[in-house]
Symmetry: C2
């Protein structure tokens, strides 16, 4: 397949690296430095968004705010190309797809992997191996477009679940936005409570538990707009209140700890 | 040094494996199966607690509830041996040390590493490399005993910070107990909120954020007795309330996210 990747940060760069052995891959980024970095990693690069088509698939991997504008720019000349985008929330793409020209093909794709590092320098073709991918149906998804999305996800080593945009965004609220909010709060409280420097005592436990607090601002801000997050944070506070209340009561703590799932 | 390790689980086993190239190491566990597992990993084993002395250092790595009883059993015949223990909280050891015979030497040692796996089978001599160690002074710590604790911590690849039992326990409340409580609550809420199976969508983010929720019950229960934990959970709920309140207000969210430390 001719695959074009628009946006050569951590995710776009990793997709380009992960697909280039099996597909005719080229990347584009509006930033010249990002294009040079991609070239240095051996990725073919085109110098304009226009040159990303014709193609069989164009993967839009820009920051979330640029996803719909990029799809809008690509749509009139997409031809047979399936337009994919890997944004962390899908409501805006779903709304755009409703109004897109009838012949355009748009499918959401969300690899559940990443990191707090960003940019082409951190890109890794193996980033998505063994990771879940959500493939998200829009009003402009047909069977062929869904098959292309599934094939690319599997070529990256992922396992695929298909869902609607609203189910996607609700899932992301639970597994990405809530843990982000939780990590930001936990890091602040743990550091303030510590009677010694963080590095003197921080082992793998607290570091893993607060890793998402390091999510870059431009990813973190839109994630905190996930639907239902307010209710999930309220539930988390309530659940923490139950643990707080159970402290000192061994049988109550046992009951809470025994309800954990592995 | 003649080093004896009492309690051959994940931590004791890893200490024995990590020290045996530089020291004369032998282990003891009251469970015959654990002793056999240690022998199978090439660790010399003695068959009674009595046989753990004479030694230069005895590292008590039993479950927390057994630490003081084991120290009490060892104290009368410890001779010149420095008694170390790696329990996750130090208040009880500190109280015991106050009343221990004058000649006994007791120092707390706490490697900030571990995992949700347990037992000799998961033991790893490299577990502590690059990790912080807290070395905890008691009423029965002298200069030689502190030096022995520091030497063993460094031989395991750790970096040492010395503190009092109360500072230790307050630090653990912040970096171990609070993240445990937070992970237990987060896992429950995230799973309940998910509109699809956990495995379909759980990437590294949520898995790392909730890893401590898998802490074995026998470690988790005593940790939740850490001093100040109630107040820390209350602070965490408050901080989460601030994030909840800021949702939808970009400048407020920016301020919260910008206060993060890396």
């Amino acid at each position: 397949m001719r695959v074009r990747v628009v946006g050569l940060g951590l995710i776009g760069g990793s997709i380009a690296l992960g697909l280039r052995d099996r597909h005719d891959v080229a990347g584009y980024d509006r930033d010249e430095g990002a294009r040079a970095a991609a070239r240095a990693r051996g990725i073919a690069v085109v110098d304009t968004l226009d040159a990303a088509v014709p193609a069989d698939a164009v993967v839009v991997a820009t920051p979330l705010a640029a996803v719909v504008p990029t799809l809008r720019a690509l749509a009139p000349r997409a031809g047979d190309a399936v337009l994919l985008e890997v944004g962390s929330l899908k409501a805006d793409v779903a709304a755009f797809a409703e109004t897109a020209p009838a012949g355009v093909r748009i499918v959401g794709l969300h690899p559940m992997a990443g990191g707090t590092a960003s940019g082409m320098a951190a890109a890794d073709g193996a980033l998505f191996r063994g990771r879940p991918f959500l493939v998200v149906v829009t009003a402009r998804s047909d069977e062929r477009a869904m098959a292309v999305a599934g094939d690319l996800a599997r070529d990256l080593g992922g396992s695929v679940t298909v869902c609607s945009p609203s189910v996607h965004d609700r899932a992301i609220a639970a597994v990405s936005a809530l843990p982000l909010a939780s990590a930001v709060a936990l890091e602040a409280v743990a550091r303030a409570a510590l009677p010694m420097p963080f590095a003197s005592v921080a082992g793998t436990g607290i570091r893993d538990a607060t890793r998402l607090a390091g999510t870059p601002l431009e990813l973190a801000l839109p994630l905190l707009g996930a639907p239902g997050l307010r209710e999930h944070i309220a539930s988390l506070r309530e659940r923490l209140g139950e643990i707080e209340h159970a402290l000192g009561d061994e049988s109550a703590l046992r009951a809470i700890l025994s309800a954990r799932k592995d």
